[in-house]
Symmetry: C2
Subunit: 401 residues, 2 copies
């Protein structure tokens, strides 16, 4: 008998960040040690543990027996604290606007399920975090990329957005700080984005602000705080700025300044109820992170920043690499200047892995067009590990010339 | 400006078990105490806490700093232990066949995403757990119900399945023990189900066995253990039999006896990688539950069983109620014999809630056709609470005559 067919939408899913783990695991199984700079997981590297007060709050919740289901939209105490945090970012967020999910990933799945139809579009930055391409097509929709300017710090190209907007664009995405480039949009740029979106009555904005606590520029601004016209889904959570990605807790917060999200909100709430709830005790850990002092973040950010600076220094000295300095998050999107790799960054990544046992992610995994000839590097490892990785990358580039 | 349209698929989602919580919450906000017998959450009731050794293992994992991402398919140690457990149920399950999810709910979402196309069907029992109706339509597929025999313990009606099978049926669902009826299928019945499915080359079986540790008959059998021809997705997890629903850890295990799931498995793995992973430390708590002694389960089951027996006794004494004795899980699906409620069980549920402050779920929320004139009752509360609930139900029935 022949194979049972897979649904085409599932066969089309790509997630470059974990797809490259498969050959790396094969090498590890043979006994090789791999320097892994592919996954944005601070816990995978020493020196950036989840803060103790958050871990303890999670454990205390377990000790109190809080192991049953929680309300589908999130624990009221957590929704309230998240709303307070968002209000501190400059917009009128109520606890009822906040919905707690299994990380930002589930929030994205739910937003797309509730808003996209066959023939609609998502306009997302190129390059972008892969689910923005992978998920809309599950619902017959299409993701179109707008250009980030590779030669100017990966800033948003507004002319390109304007040229690509039409009535079928249901969602305009801003990832700020951006993954994979680290670009931070200014408030003027955000205002410009909103002014473009507001010309199209069915267009909403997804503001993916999961890296907002990792802003080196001091200028990162909430999109919701600037919008008086366009509905905004703000995405954030415990994974990155609070250093607990394995807890799987994130949220969406709905900003609806012109009261047009009633039906969409009802659809989102139906979807949330059908899937029960996010982890109950993990929500208590996140609550502690939001409620208690965040002074610890400065030290963490300083560590990340010193690692960024080392990488920038090393790249400036290596023939064959160029990079725009990232203003936030913990990624850089490195350009391979040798024409040899300009159209085959995946071969670069796999050859580097096999020859030098350093794992990064091919740029085309973040944008088939605008990521070509690049790779994404996560700079969460200690400086000596990063330095060793650059020694190997340099050696590889010299040998492959 | 007018409202932004919701995607029709999201507007159609219903999840009766939590939809009825909305009016109950409104009453609670007014200061009323509600006896809630609507949600299958053992932790919501006293006397059935998550076992201490599992809680401690979860906490220990947090203490060890296991708060980063884990592999997308699950921690290798947990996949291995689940495979061992499934082998103990009689089929050759390898760790690679096991995929850990955010509960059975996410496993269902992923299976449907990877297998359904527009024009395909899911054949599910009527009545059934609501997501079996809510999710296939997300992908343009349709759920058709096969009849469970209300007059004969809610046994599967095989003639009805045979009449409804055709080449568009991609998935045949068995929930065993069944939610909401508590029926346990015998191994002969399972064999008959498999022999029907094997006539249709693209038909797979979902065996939802999340209640298999709550089997009062001693006859519950793994579907995968009986199938030599039809691919089976076995679903299970920590929520019910291990009394930790708020941890959100479940799994699917793929049984592929004729090696026809290659493409489907690839699609499932792509989807799993794109959504990162299930909670890392929670997986360690489940692992402890699987590895260590399960002697504690006997006492828990005895408590649940004595509550079932009290309910059966009370129902037999109340004019207006009838029920088939459940063989497993912790639900019963009660028939309202007064013709007044025969086509409006939702009104019964809402009137009972408002008049007597007892919350159950309307039967039509589990099957528009076969659930009419019924309600689902969760018998996890203590006997004195259940007894008080039946006093109120009796009084309500008498007054409403």
């Amino acid at each position: 008998m022949s194979e049972i067919p897979v649904a085409e939408r599932a066969a089309r899913i790509e997630y470059a960040i974990r797809d490259v783990v498969i050959p790396a695991n094969a090498l590890e199984a043979e006994g090789h040690e791999i320097i892994k700079l592919n996954i944005g997981d601070p816990i995978a590297y020493p020196g950036l543990p989840t803060p103790t007060h958050m871990v303890r709050a999670f454990q205390d919740s377990l000790s109190r027996g809080e192991t049953g289901y929680s309300p589908s939209y999130g624990l009221p105490s957590l929704r309230s604290e998240i709303a307070k945090d968002e209000r501190g970012k400059g917009w009128n967020c109520s606890p009822d606007d906040v919905y707690v999910c299994h990380g930002v990933t589930e929030a994205l799945q739910i937003i797309f399920t509730a808003t996209l139809e066959s023939g609609t579009k998502v306009l997302a930055p190129g390059p972008h975090y892969p689910p923005y391409m992978a998920y809309p097509q599950l619902f017959g929709a299409e993701t179109i990329e707008y250009r980030l300017d590779a030669g100017d710090g990966w800033r948003v190209d507004f002319a390109d957005i304007e040229a690509k907007m039409d009535e079928s664009v249901r969602i305009l995405v801003l990832i700020n700080p951006n993954n994979p480039t680290g670009n931070v949009a200014s408030s003027d740029e955000i205002d410009r984005l909103i002014s473009i979106a507001e010309k199209w009555p069915n267009c909403m904005i997804i503001a993916d602000e999961i890296y907002d606590e990792l802003d080196f520029t001091g200028t990162q601004t909430s999109v919701a705080s600037r919008s008086k016209s366009v509905p905004v889904f703000t995405l954030n959570g415990v994974s990155k700025g609070y250093y607990a990605p394995g807890w799987r807790i994130g949220y969406m917060a709905l900003h609806d300044p012109t009261k047009r999200l009633g039906a969409v909100r009802d659809g989102i709430e139906r979807l949330l109820r059908s899937r029960l709830c996010a982890s109950t005790p993990a929500q208590m850990g996140y609550l502690a992170g939001l409620e208690q002092s965040r002074d610890w973040m400065q030290e963490y950010t300083q560590k990340v920043l010193s690692q960024r600076d080392l990488c920038l220094q090393r790249i400036s000295e290596i023939d064959g690499l160029e990079v725009e300095s990232p203003g936030g998050a913990f990624y850089m999107f490195v350009r391979l200047t040798d024409s040899k790799w300009a159209t085959d960054d995946k071969k670069f990544v796999l050859d580097l892995l096999h020859n030098e046992h350093v794992l990064v992610v091919h740029g085309s995994g973040f944008s088939k067009e605008m990521g070509l000839g690049h790779f994404r590097l996560v700079y969460l490892a200690d400086c000596d590990v990063l330095s060793e990785a650059f020694d190997r990358i340099d050696r590889f580039l010299q040998r492959s010339r």
